[in-house]
């Protein structure tokens, strides 16, 4: 499935390449901005240069990985409108699986590799990194991916119910963008909202903090719990949406 969609992307190679260049530029510009700022201030919200870079690189890693696997969501609306979605429902492959993971884009790989590279470089440059920290980091990255997946599932379920998906998707992107930097910079109550109500903080900031040894065990547990609950809830929501759709469509 992903091979086929990669093919299609490659056939419109010009615009595909342009999009990749655009994303790399966006990354480069923000990185450049961080460099300029830190060169004067030496710290942002108490974090050192490489720590901030680490936060940013981790964000990119999670964001790109999510996009890489869940590209198909962006085509979802056209499937519902055209009726092709009905085919998904009748095929043996789980329609949720097809909707989310059917369209990996090989062009997201450069970004992914770049993010991983920066993550590694930043970790090497930072001091006091423990084995436990790295372990927690990886666990929370997976958790972040789970949360991202849950968001996408909810968005798709919403799309099934209302066909209004684009706005929800953009909201998701904008909210997660706020995790480019450690959410410590946000004042309360915004910080609280971003951590618990809309778990951007758990997704983007917690993994990095865990690596730096700044996260309490309770927080890790809470993070995992929220991830699981969110996933379960989104899945239920999806099932509800499908039931509603199947009984309503003619």
């Amino acid at each position: 499935m992903s091979a086929r969609s990669t093919q299609i992307a490659l056939s419109s190679r010009f615009s595909a390449v342009i999009f990749v260049i655009g994303k790399l530029l966006r990354f480069a510009f923000f990185f450049f901005f961080l460099v300029i700022v830190i060169s004067k201030t030496n710290t942002i919200a108490g974090y050192s240069f490489w720590q901030v870079i680490f936060f940013f690189a981790t964000f990119n890693l999670i964001d790109t990985a999510a996009q890489l696997f869940m590209r198909e969501v962006y085509r979802f609306r056209s499937y519902v409108v055209s009726g092709e979605f009905d085919y998904f429902l009748s095929k043996p492959l789980s329609p949720l699986f097809r909707t989310l993971l059917g369209g990996s884009d090989i062009l997201d790989l450069p970004m992914l590799f770049l993010s991983i590279a920066f993550v590694v470089v930043a970790v090497v440059q930072m001091e006091a990194v423990s084995f436990v920290g790295v372990l927690l980091y990886l666990v929370l990255i997976v958790n972040a991916f789970l949360i991202g997946l849950s968001f996408h599932i909810m968005v798709v379920a919403l799309g099934v119910l209302t066909t209004e998906i684009d706005n929800a998707l953009w909201m998701y992107r904008d909210l997660t963008q706020m995790g480019r930097l450690p959410i410590d910079i946000y004042r309360q109550p915004l910080q609280g909202i971003l951590t618990f109500a809309i778990p951007v903080g758990i997704m983007m900031t917690f993994p990095s903090k865990a690596l730096m040894g700044l996260l309490s065990i309770q927080s890790v547990v809470i993070a995992l719990l929220i991830g699981i609950i969110l996933f379960y809830g989104s899945f239920k929501f999806w099932q509800h949406a499908i039931k509603h759709y199947s009984s309503a469509s003619s």
Binding site: S12, F14, S15, A16, I18, F19, I21, G22, L25, R26, F29, F30, F33, I36, V37, K40, T41, I44, A45, E164, N167, W170, M171, D174, L175, Q177, M178, R180, L181, D184, I185, Y186, R187, L190
Partner: protein, 264 residues
Amino acid sequence: MNKYFSVARLTWDETFVYRLNFVMWRVRAVLQILTLYFLWLALIPTGASLFGYDQSSMLTYILGTSLISSIVLSSRSYAVGDEINSGNLSNFLLRPINYFLYWFARDVGDKAMNIIFSIIELTVLFVILKPPLFIQTESFYLLLTFVAIVFALIMYFFFNFLLGLIGFWSPEVWAPRFIFIILLNFFAGGLFPLDILPKFIFSVFQSLPFTYLLYFPIKIYLGQLTIIEIFTGIMISLVWTLVLYIIVQYVWRKGLLVYTAQGR
């Protein structure tokens, strides 16, 4: 002139039909400001100063560019590309209406709605966040800010229109636009005030047109430019506006030849 006013009014009406989309669009704009606002708040605590900005002037910069953005950067003209590709352009060639002015009028309609919302949002944010804002009182600076914004408006219109004209030669209209937005955000000073850049880089920026879309007007407002700097800036804006105008006319004519040759 009535016809263009009608076009603006109809565009305004259209945004009402797409209420939900429009509101979502504004929500997104607010979220984007919030990130930058809090970042700078963290970087410049009360009483501190960084790159020559104290807290109030930096926060005014961030919120100010947001407002100016809704005036300068809201636009519908990107749709020119689709119109050319679909052949709908022919409808306009057959009627006594100027295509440039038509799209400019559409932009104005769009901007009107965006400005109103932006003012409402900023007012709400002001009440909630209570940022220390710098209020310009010299009418001289306010007037010049306005002049700079007008030039910025026109320049951006030409940019967008040019991007749309790509439609004469290629069905790929969206990819170039994507890159353009990313470049613009950086080069126009939407992310950070451009004068925090190293001197050499900044001087290059000053000869580019993008700087005059957001950075320049807000700097005039903040009263941080000398008369000479303001005057030079406005001259450069004027030159770029004319250059863009000439380029747009040229590309339009060339494109029209291609369009009519293909007999669409």
